[in-house]
């Protein structure tokens, strides 16, 4: 654990306590069983704690506390797989408006993000792949405004979001981001039902007309920075989930008896448990460094974010896989939590670029 300031330590403890009291993993099961993507009442509590506004400037009703602070909260929420639009709204939506929004756009949206009144989703992936360098969705000039055409899929948290931030390539130019209301004419949303039970959707844009005020300034550079806020925050959430998968498994090794012994006394299992611990140690170092680098606007932040997201993907998948394996038959049942972590690990890895994507990005940034 990083060396935290008193305020950061308090924020983390507050999040841990809230998760324990209000959002144990049974809460996630309850939402999933009810067929919902998330529980609006629970998200209202999250926003009430101030977490939706961690990145929002104080003038707009937020805490302006940095992405490291948001990462501390998401790590705790990741422990019990809390399903909420917090990452999409507070990490991605808030950073997009902070970095690319005009004064008027910020005043219109940031206070409502901080209060929890609106949730946001980033519509960037197409044809099921994360490839922000090739955005097929087009933005054509239409008087003072724009017309958007394209299909986005998957849009994570896009089924229920109150505001869509859409990546589109301007004809004859580069890609940039547009603010689009999901109820605008020409927008069609179709919810997916995915293995992790979270909100995801396909969103079609058929000649959607938006005014000139919809464009966020910054182009591809803005997209990169906004994505990196989301990726680092997601890596923190995944670190929390992986840590919990590991700790639950390690506890099981100390209680399950076979052949007259605790199975945790078997060296084959001990060494695999230590291997998980080693990956968690490395992943934590990378995640904390990435979050701190974004807050410091350090020149190597992109490489650190890709390092963190790649490690988080590999480590979460390792810990979830071992969680199923070391629990044996019970780990294969719907009744046990292991499957929930296993499914979430795959979905979280794919979100905002999987490990392979980030190894390649790290390679290009480094000149390999």
């Amino acid at each position: 654990m990083a060396v935290l300031s008193d305020e950061q330590g308090m924020l983390r403890d507050m999040a841990a306590e809230w998760v324990r009291d209000r959002a144990p993993i049974s809460a996630f099961r309850h939402v999933a069983d009810a067929g919902g993507a998330y529980d609006p009442a629970l998200y209202a509590e999250i926003a009430g704690m101030g977490w939706a506004g961690v990145l929002v400037p104080e003038a707009h009703g937020g805490a302006n506390f940095g992405v490291l602070g948001l990462g501390l909260v998401l790590e705790e929420l990741g422990r019990t797989l809390v399903a909420s639009p917090l990452l999409s709204t507070a990490a991605i939506g808030a950073s997009a408006l902070r970095l690319g929004g005009s004064a008027r756009q910020q005043a219109a949206w940031l206070p409502r993000i901080a209060s929890g009144e609106v949730t946001v989703a980033l519509a960037i992936d197409e044809r099921g792949r994360h490839d922000p360098a090739h955005i097929g969705t087009r933005a054509s000039r239409d008087g003072d405004g724009w017309r958007l055409d394209g299909i986005k899929a998957p849009v994570i948290d896009g089924g229920a979001a109150d505001l869509l931030i859409v990546a589109a390539t301007i004809e004859g130019g580069e890609a940039t981001l547009f603010l689009v209301a999901p109820d605008a004419k020409g927008v069609t949303r179709m919810a997916y039902c995915r293995i992790d039970g979270r909100d995801a959707a396909q969103v079609r844009f058929d000649g959607v007309a938006v005014d000139g005020e919809a464009l966020l300034a910054g182009g591809a550079g803005l997209i990169d920075r906004v994505l990196d806020h989301g990726r680092a925050a997601l890596a923190a959430e995944m670190l929390g989930s992986a840590t919990q998968a590991f700790e639950t498994t390690n506890d099981y090794l100390k209680t399950r008896v076979q052949f007259g012994q605790l199975i945790g006394s078997f060296q084959a299992l001990q060494h695999r448990a230590v291997a998980m611990l080693a990956e968690l140690v490395m992943t934590r170092s990378a995640v904390e460094a990435a979050l701190a680098a974004i807050d410091a606007d350090a020149p190597d932040q992109a490489a650190l974010v890709s390092l963190a997201k790649a490690l988080a993907g590999d480590t979460f998948r390792l810990c979830a896989r071992e969680m199923v394996q070391m629990h044996g038959g019970i780990g294969m049942t719907e009744e046990h939590d292991a499957g929930l972590y296993y499914k979430r690990a795959a979905a979280a890895d794919a979100f905002l670029g999987n490990s392979a994507f980030h190894r390649e990005r790290y390679a290009r940034l480094g000149g390999y």
Binding site: M1, A2, K254, R359, Y362, Y368
Partner: protein
């Protein structure tokens, strides 16, 4: 002057002194040959000069009390000094077995007489130490060691054999684990300081797969050792040894993720494709994966150092860090050899450039990283038990 200003002033002083006193020919040289091989080091006048200057400046053991030859620097200043040395490719010439392992042990467990007798020579780099722990029948299961130490009235009488004793053939002194009680395992072991010039001490170098003869066998034939050379109490040497092995693991984990990037080497020796990527796509993937792990490992070392400074206990992670570090360093040696291709397979001779021979020998040497100082498997056993709280394996016999 505030704390930060005082530290920055110290940094400026250190930088200036190092610039004036560190012999440039030693810059970025691998310190291992100097630290391991006495004849190699003594034959290099630059090394001699550097050792003497560091001894006079008391920066070979910068954190030790002044009466023992140190400079009594606090932890932030010790760290700054190390950073400034690393920045110019300098190394601490005193950083040998005596400094990294025995020094901290004597500071914690030694008598005043033992400290006064031994620490100044370590701090000045004039006395070389070796570690007499492993035996033919006691490798990973170190506590089964059987070198006997008998109370002979006015002295101890030691009889037995040690093995894998690094640098024993050039050492002046040895700190050894010896058996003082044959009826107990861990509780029958004592910690003894042995003068290598004593009658009955015989060393014999072992040639390794890399060609190195740094490790030795050491025979102890009825060696008489003064009573005052026992550290701690009789039969309490195992606790001291475990503490010392922690110091060793700490020192073994340092620098594992360092070394110049393999990227320029790969680009020049393997070539690049039409868009400037390393031409061998499979090798490129593995180089990147390695670079990322080395990066994460270095971030881990930085993070744990910061946490330790802030007062968190990080001892529990030492065995994990050791295995991660040996993994990273071994992967690097494998990749370097692959990049060199046929030029990385040279054994000796003028057909091969020094850097080419270094690649093959480093590759061979690197296998030892996961064996010495407690093998990969032993580190995992320790982490399973102490860090994860997993139960002891059921007795095999």
């Amino acid at each position: 002057m505030g704390d930060d200003a005082a530290l920055e002033a110290f940094r400026a002083d250190a930088r200036e002194w190092l610039a004036e006193n560190f012999p440039p020919p030693l810059a970025h040289k691998n310190p291992v040959p100097y630290q391991n091989d006495a004849p190699y080091a003594e034959a290099d006048p630059d090394w001699q000069l550097w050792r003497t200057r560091m001894a006079e400046r008391r920066w070979g053991a910068p954190g030790w009390p002044e009466i023992y030859g140190g400079a009594a620097l606090d932890a932030p200043r010790v760290r700054i000094l190390a950073e400034e040395m690393r920045a110019i490719g300098a190394f601490n010439p005193m950083k040998m077995t005596g400094y990294t392992m025995l020094g901290p042990t004597l500071l914690e467990f030694g008598t005043e007489e033992q400290r006064a007798q031994h620490l100044p020579g370590i701090a000045r780099g004039t006395v070389r130490w070796c570690q007499g722990f492993s035996e033919p029948g006691a490798g990973s299961d170190l506590a089964s060691l059987s070198t006997r130490c008998i109370d002979a009235g006015d002295h101890w009488l030691v009889e037995g054999q040690k093995v894998w004793t690094s640098g024993a053939n050039h050492a002046d002194w040895c700190f050894a684990l010896v058996r003082t009680d044959t009826t107990a395992k861990q509780r029958g072991i004592s910690f003894l300081l042995i003068d290598m010039r004593s009658e009955g001490v015989v060393t014999r170098p072992i040639t390794l797969i890399s060609g190195s003869t740094h490790f030795c066998e050491m025979f102890l034939n009825a060696v008489r050792v003064p009573k005052g050379n026992l550290v701690g109490r009789v039969n309490e040497g195992w606790g001291i040894a475990k503490r010392l092995l922690q110091f060793e693991r700490d020192s073994l984990s340092e620098g594992r993720g360092e070394g110049a990037s393999l990227l320029p080497l790969a680009r020049s020796r393997v070539g690049t494709d039409g868009v400037g990527r390393i031409a061998d796509g499979d090798l490129r993937s593995r180089l990147v994966a390695h670079a990322m792990r080395a990066h994460a490992y270095n971030l881990t070392m930085t993070r744990l150092a910061a946490e330790a400074k802030a007062g968190s206990a990080i001892d529990a992670l030492v065995p994990v860090v050791k295995t991660l570090g040996s993994d990273v360093a071994q992967a690097r040696a494998d990749l370097a050899m692959e990049i060199y291709g046929d030029r990385g397979l040279g054994w000796t001779g003028a057909d091969y450039a020094p850097d080419e021979l270094d690649v093959s020998h480093q590759w061979l040497h690197a296998r030892a990283f996961s064996i010495y100082g407690g093998s990969y498997e032993i580190q995992n056993n320790i982490a399973a038990k102490r860090t994860l709280g997993l139960p002891d394996p059921a007795s095999a016999r």
